[in-house]
Point group: C2
Chain length 334, copies 2
Amino acid sequence: MGEVNIKKLASELNLSAATVSRALRDSHEISAETKARVMEMAKKLAYEPNPFASSLRQQKSKTIAVIVPEVANNFFALAIKAIEEVARAKDHHVLIYQTHESGEIESSFMTSLLSGRVDGVLISPACHVANKKYFQKVSEKIPMVFFDRDHDDIEGVKITTDDYESAYNATLHLVEAGCKKIGYLAALETLTTGKKRLQGYLDALKDNNLESMPALIEGNCENNESCRSKVKDFIAERKPDGIVSSIEELALPCYYACKELNLNIPKDLKLITYSNLAHAELLNPPLSTINQPAFEIGNEAATILFKMFSKRWYDPNITISLKSSIIKRESSRS
Amino acid sequence: MGEVNIKKLASELNLSAATVSRALRDSHEISAETKARVMEMAKKLAYEPNPFASSLRQQKSKTIAVIVPEVANNFFALAIKAIEEVARAKDHHVLIYQTHESGEIESSFMTSLLSGRVDGVLISPACHVANKKYFQKVSEKIPMVFFDRDHDDIEGVKITTDDYESAYNATLHLVEAGCKKIGYLAALETLTTGKKRLQGYLDALKDNNLESMPALIEGNCENNESCRSKVKDFIAERKPDGIVSSIEELALPCYYACKELNLNIPKDLKLITYSNLAHAELLNPPLSTINQPAFEIGNEAATILFKMFSKRWYDPNITISLKSSIIKRESSRS
């Protein structure tokens, strides 16, 4: 059996290639009966359309891009799963891109999307961005939705969580557990997400007449060694009795640091972190977490993107905020 | 500034569009000097080639696909990272696809790749596959490399690990730790990977005159609830004093089961599992693991794929096996 293309289908069906092509595109010019015949033959001969040629004609790739900092992260894994479910129901493929927090990689991906490779973009931006022009450039051409993370100087549709409130409440939880010197492990400081979390922490301490000591752990947390030693230095020097960590990647190093410094969690140091870690309960001790509604964020973002495709979404600048929940476990027990 | 296309570049440079197009494709017909001028102007005006049009011309997408069961898995996350590094050095994009162990989703992805969307495929196949014809179909058209997992009835280039030896050695480790009734949590039973691990376990027990009790935990381990209750039933009914788990997703439920059954790890039950879990050390108790060289597998697979692209790889049927290492921690202490 040779290549099955439109010509081959046409000759098998005794129709013109133009008719077959129109039938495959579900054109109103073709009768339902003919369409059914064409589809049946296409199925029988396992006809595969050429995506490049058909994309050029229709300007549709039936593909969406998801750009995230890391896939090996419980939050993003759950969000992606939700996005895939929505896309599958709409017969679209999902391409996943990892930026590893690099603005350079992000810019290169985004720029490559500019010319029709995908129909839409769901993005949770990288921390380290020098020049944000590409966000503007892409969003002018392709429907785009920010999820979880965003930049406050860029307009767009944004699905986030209650970062301020959840950080405030997590800090309050440590205050109520008896902490007097609560540290904060900052990250994502270039993003609205990070700024709001930090502000929630600061305000909770202010409202309780406690001093703050935020520590910005810079650099790439994928590099466990350097990250661990910075966290250890912070604990050794500042001697906090409680820590709110703004990301999971900074909370787990606290376990190693406390072991090395002979500190007991929660007796000497109480800990709570943003995390969707599936097995927080199995850690020693079980880790208190601020759980973001990861699946719901992915679902909402993808649903809105498909509404944008079908022109059923009219608000180009809106921020929708979903609620996180605080799960108290042994690591923050009073 | 209007659309920057080849025509625009040509008019800015006072060259013909054909010359600019050839220069951009690095044609030997164009002088180095002209190429340099064209590239400089393309950079200055931020010219973006249309990937569909240029793919049609060159039949190259400069993109490779990575198909894996799950991205939220430490093994695959590491392997993907290595693949991305190789691809980035070769100026290729990496598209990541998740099958969630479904043969149907896998088949749909693979079939969509048939017509030029990507230049090559790196795949770690799903467990549940009904009809394997699509592997054959894709590999006839596009360079493809299996990594970690494979099917023994499909030929191809395969980068795996020493599944038989590592399972044998892990079982022997439990025997030496004093276990007499060693259970095995099987998965991936449809794949060569799973078959070899099971055989390694069986042979280690036979060589030590011990009885075996493998348990196949069927169904989707993404569904934690059903997975946990099956693992718990196995432990409650068969009362093993040691368990070798063939995947991480079956080992963590042992922790919950032991808690519920009031069993102590490692006193009542010793545990070792295939896993690249980054924080196995932080679990209570720290988990003994069979660590696969995840990064090396990804690196090797991607490197071979690019050799296939440039026709510097001549062996269409070869299996390269890399060594895993056993990391003994508290969960299997005698």
